[in-house]
Symmetry: C3
């Protein structure tokens, strides 16, 4: 387990290097809105994404993948079956897996599915504050898929959820909060433009899975993923201010630069920018 | 109802400001090709997209959303059920909704679905000239999903369709034509690069829904949406000419800059560029 | 059939021009990860994509389309039915069609489907080395969807597969290898950044279909498609080195510039850069 922010920082750089060497296979069962972006973020970071989400194939792959992402953004019936199958196979085979409970609390079908999936012991649960509160039974979730609560309003819920499920819980927002129920890490890097790109959170779920595939300590790997992603976003946001004349840089440029920044990020950039506490 | 282009222009700026303050929830049941782009266009414009398109959840959300978009681009069986459910719930709850009849006339399954959905009284029907003609019974539609008719060839069909359905009809093309069956507005802004980006029309359908969520007059809100989107496209097209050396700017750069332009557009830009008649 | 690289080069420029004049309708039944990118690549190149992939509509369109792409990346049950239907209709109507056997060998459902589709005589089979080996019965495929073999390791398999199926086989990699079972062409253009963009191979499958729609000789048309796409990638990769200060150019910028480069590429650029043997 992580002792200090300095250690977290060192380990993040090491895990990033390992990710690029090992190029772990990350299976994603994710929503139709952001599948492309999640895959591109994983490729840019250094992982090998495989968006395998149909029954029969889903469980076969979950046994051999480095990690699995299950994102509930648009859970069609056939995909729900594949998700249950993949999560069960991951649990059975000891493959780490991430649950991203998009819209849970606000929408009934995925809420039922999330409860079922919790029994298959996700390694990490990553969501926004409203989703984590809803999943912990601390509220009804947001109206839609965007958070209506601040990260700090979800701290208690995150701790409770971590303790009852055994998962590390990562609450995403302007400051990310990551907890295993006792230790609690905050990553203060990022960019306000993350909120203007659809799937920015979903893609972080993929990055968390990629780091789980190369790191054995779940809290450390999750922190590393959040840090790498947030720092890359910060770099991308800064670069957006240096664009050529014409249209002011905004969410379109930011998403493009985020991929470029993820591909280029290294331990030195993490060290120079990290704000972990 | 809108009286003059000047009024249309003033109201467009006001509605845009309101959109950014209220950030309305816009539910989208749309095709797999452009879901990501539609969501990013909505975020850039200032709305909160929720791509909820499975049965049970679709109707729940349509009751509480600010507006609903139903786009027939890739209508899988499960999504067709969700669309019928969402449109019925929207009709029942008084939620404004937009029908985007992609490929209607040319393709049988969606043509049948579109006819069924028309009975649930969409607030706006947005399509290209071939789709509007087909929906009005004035022709067999295009061969594929791209228009094979000019906007003016669809004027009579648009008027007839507006009168029989009670919807505002927006025909997209180099010049957009918007009519409620009596008044007819034309928006002459835009960029030829729109035609080179998949889902440019689909995304406009989303923007129309977003403006419906904040404006009570359907013709005015639809005109404002078409104007904001077309002017942003014009700005993006101009900026494409100012790119750094290397590859000449084209459809890839344009799509990125369109998102940037939508996030930055304001009433002053609308006033400086609008060509409404 | 192509006799020399010089002829291949000349014909490539001619076919590209014809593509832009005729704007052939290319029907795509492809995966959810890259549908948007495939459509945008087709638009940029000059074709008219139609992502029609539901039963009933799929066969109707396959009869009238210029060419059909069947990509097995995320083969849901309903889409599998549509694929079988579209391939049968294409076979029946003489519409050229491309099979892109993503992940075949590694994943059971698509492997069964691919075997069934081979009986419907695809005009071209385009895949990475691992997929072509698996389809030819020369190996078990990759672990995921990325190649684990070099192009040359698939040469024998490609030849065998071409001879048994009657299809032209295109193996994508740092050097593309295209064969009809006797002639064998290599295209050495490209960019290492192709491997960092999800769907770069899937989009090439679409481009091959577009060239089939305008050229009668399958080997020549396939070579032209591979050449145009690879040279555009090379141009895009070069341009990435000339970006404004800020984030170093990477996979995000490359994908954007690839679309710009495809829209701008012409016979002169092909001539200046082509490395065909």
């Amino acid at each position: 387990m992580m002792r200090t922010p300095v250690l977290a920082l060192e380990r993040s750089g090491e895990l990033l290097d390992r990710l690029r060497v090992e190029r772990p296979l990350v299976q994603c069962l994710t929503n139709t809105v952001t599948t492309n972006f999640v895959a591109n973020v994983l490729l840019a970071t250094g992982a090998s994404p495989a968006m395998v989400d149909i029954p029969v194939e889903a469980s076969a792959m979950a046994r051999s993948a480095g990690a699995v992402l299950v994102n509930l953004g648009t859970p069609r019936a056939e995909q729900r079956d594949a998700m249950a199958e993949a999560a069960a196979a991951a649990y059975d085979a000891g493959t780490p897996w991430v649950l991203d409970p998009v819209g849970v609390g606000a929408l009934p079908v995925r809420t039922t599915l999330a409860e079922r999936l919790l029994g298959l012991r996700p390694s990490v649960i990553r969501g926004n504050a409203s989703e984590i509160r809803a999943l912990a039974g601390h509220g009804a979730g947001a109206q839609g898929v965007d958070a209506q609560h601040g990260v700090d309003e979800a701290r208690e819920a995150a701790t409770a959820l971590a303790l009852t499920t055994g998962a590390v819980v990562a609450v995403s927002g302007p400051v990310d909060l990551i907890t295993d129920g006792s230790a609690c890490v905050r990553v203060a890097n990022g960019s306000p433009l993350f909120a203007a790109v659809t799937g920015a959170g979903c893609a972080l779920g993929g990055v968390v899975a990629a780091f789980l595939a190369v790191g054995d300590d779940v809290l450390t790997a999750t922190t590393a993923a959040c840090l790498v992603y947030a720092v890359a976003g910060e770099v991308a946001g800064d670069a957006a201010g240096q664009a050529p004349p014409g249209v002011a840089p905004g969410p379109g440029s930011f998403a493009v630069r985020l991929l470029d920044a993820l591909a280029a990020i290294d331990a030195a950039q993490l060290e120079a920018r990290a704000r972990v506490s």
